[in-house]
Amino acid sequence: MSLERIGKTADRRAAPTRTVARFGIRYTRFLDERGRLADDAPPIAHDHARLRELYRQMLLTRLFDRKAVTLQRTGQLGTYASSLGQEATSVGIGAAMARDDVLLPTYRETGAMLLRGVEMRELLLYWGGDESGMDYSGPNAPREDFPICVPIATHAPHAVGVAYAFKRRHEPRVAVCVLGDGATSKGDFYEALNAAAVFDVPVVFVIVNNQWAISVPRSLQSRAETLAQKAIAAGIAGEQVDGNDLIAVYDVTARALERARASGGPHVIEALTYRLGDHTTADDARRYRSEEELALWRARDPLKRIAAYLIRAGAFSDDEEAELRAELGRAVEKAVADYLATPPRPPESMFDHLFERLPRALEPQRETAAARAGLDGHDADARPSHDRRPAHDAPRGDLHHG
């Protein structure tokens, strides 16, 4: 527990001013930057098969990410938010969660989403401009997970509601809300933390502190020494973890989830990592951060770290790495092909799922949308998919914050 109360003193002659509460923030790291394991590592550190599996997920996330950026650059995908450099955090969170926990992600949680059963094809559809990408429909789809949340921190209150529902139904499930360093400046975040503690509901907030909210550095976001300590004001425990250490992220998250599941209480984790890519494909990070800083964090690459550990442990090799890359690359290409082969839906489909049943008042508009498409020749269904250039059509809008 990082939250330590100092009991009332029985000494009636105590000084008029005294300390009534004292707090601390714990930081956890098991793997150092060269992949050397600390002494008191948790069991996951010795489960090499599981770690290989998670490394595979991290690598898949990175290869997918690289491909998505390429697709955007070649006009085949809309604006995309890269998660390059944050794979250990995202995969670690996803791996620690139980199947029927509920993830409430932002737009940089590709690792956790893929691990939980969202398909690459679906993520490409979403970023390519098709809502069906958020209707997770694959064989292992996490049907109750929330869609990507774009307006910063606005999903934090949802997590409280989801967790309240779990508690009310006495279900041993946890809501996991992932948000960024910038999100901790917003009122929604504080309101959610405060309420989560008041209601004592099973929710874990993970602050993915990637040091930058678009161009605003962590130092301008808050003068608090840690973002984790923002939990303390709400009366919940907060702690930091090295977000580029898969073992640490997994262990710290798993413990928080276990506690939440057992006692129903909330928890805050601040994962210290770094956004190696631009904020999105519409951003150019060279405008605001130095090559030196980037180099420093490239050296802390989370994939290299866990790979180095596994190789040293004799559980992985460069040959296996090459094989894995080839295999995952094929999976990514398959998803891209599926995405590009998916035709846009008819214009009138924008009225689908607006309400359970379209109100009569909106029927004429739906008919107009369908009729206009025919008149304008905007019915793109007939065109081969590679002719469609959503990124060119789409405004070069950027996602807000980081």
Partner: protein
């Protein structure tokens, strides 16, 4: 059948639905032991306990956002915002999430929530307690905006809103919360959403309103009737999505229309009704469509508020003007 006030009808509907459907939870500031600042949740805490009648921290974004989470998990949250003047932090949640969750997940997650708030002026309340800003919500695709104007409609429309599979902003006219009673049968029968109610039929002029202004509109119809003018009065009830059927049918008959609302004139829902009349009912119109509304000024404090609100006199005058136009 008991005669009850509008606010009592709200309580009755909440209690009925909480009894009938254990997924229904009520949340908001002071809704628990205190029974809400207008007493709309009186007795619910005692009857259904703190897990279903939830006193929240003082945080409107949280109230709306938490409701989105509850609703997505299959509960039926009915959230209370104490006054419309405090609802604005919740707009982000209603606009960016409640109204879009079903569509952005293609039906995978839904948001069957109700956000209740008292609205309108005329009770000599402090600053920020008398606004009518329904237009802000009516403009948001994916949201229903409903406003009852009598105890029976409060009961029936609130039941319908709670049972509706999509989010509803339910605006309760605070000025007529306790102004008059009506027999309301606790039958559990909902009234339909998305349709307007013809409260009085007439053939000379159509008066269209919603919420508390329906009262003045009906009084104006009485006054006109004494002079031999036969006004039809329509309560829009579901402000969005706006079904024009009843209004168009009425105007086809009367050829004249006066729209009455407390909200400011500019881009008020009355403007939409007038525009739709121009689009779809122009050939029926014998006179320009008139609007009797609040002014495009900040809602004044108590001393001047009666000069801001649409009066019976103003509605009568507008109706006469319409009749004299041609």
């Amino acid at each position: 059948m008991a005669e009850i006030t509008l606010v009592e009808a709200v309580t009755l509907a909440l209690a009925h639905e909480m009894e009938a459907d254990e997924r229904v939870v009520v949340l908001g500031e002071d809704v628990g032991v205190n029974g809400g600042v207008f007493r709309a949740t009186t007795g619910l805490f005692e009857r259904f306990g703190p897990e279903r009648v939830i006193d929240t921290p003082l945080a409107e974004t949280l109230i709306a956002g938490m409701s989105v989470g509850l609703a997505a998990q299959g509960l039926r949250p009915v959230a209370e915002i104490q006054f419309m003047g405090f609802i604005y932090p919740a707009i982000d949640q209603m606009l960016n999430h409640a109204a879009r969750l079903r569509r952005r997940t293609q039906g995978r997650l839904t948001c069957p929530m109700v956000l209740r708030a008292p609205f309108g002026g005329g009770i000599h309340a402090p600053e920020h307690h008398s606004e009518s800003t329904e237009t802000l919500f009516a403009h948001l695709p994916g949201l229903r905006v409903v406003a009852p104007s009598s105890p029976a409609r409060a009961y029936g429309l609130l039941l319908a809103s709670i049972r509706d599979p999509d989010p509803v902003v339910f605006l309760e006219p605070e000025r007529i919360y306790r102004l008059g009673k009506e027999a309301v049968d606790d039958s559990g029968e909902a009234l339909p959403l998305d349709v307007a109610f013809v409260l009085r039929s007439g053939s000379d002029v159509t008066l269209v309103s919603w919420g508390a202004s329906v009262r003045e509109t009906l009084l104006a119809a009485d006054r006109l009737s004494a002079d031999g003018i036969d006004a039809e009065v329509i309560d829009v009830a579901t402000i969005a999505p706006l079904d024009m059927t009843a209004i168009l049918e009425s105007v086809e008959k009367t050829g004249r229309c006066v729209i009455v609302h407390e909200a400011a004139h500019n881009v008020g829902v009355g403007a939409e009704i007038a525009a739709r009349l121009a689009d779809e009912g122009l050939m029926s119109l014998l006179a320009p469509v008139k609007r009797v509304t609040g002014y495009d000024t900040v809602m004044p404090l108590a001393r001047l508020e009666r000069h801001y609100l649409p009066s019976v006199d103003a509605i009568v005058a507008a109706a006469r003007e319409s009749l004299e136009a041609a």
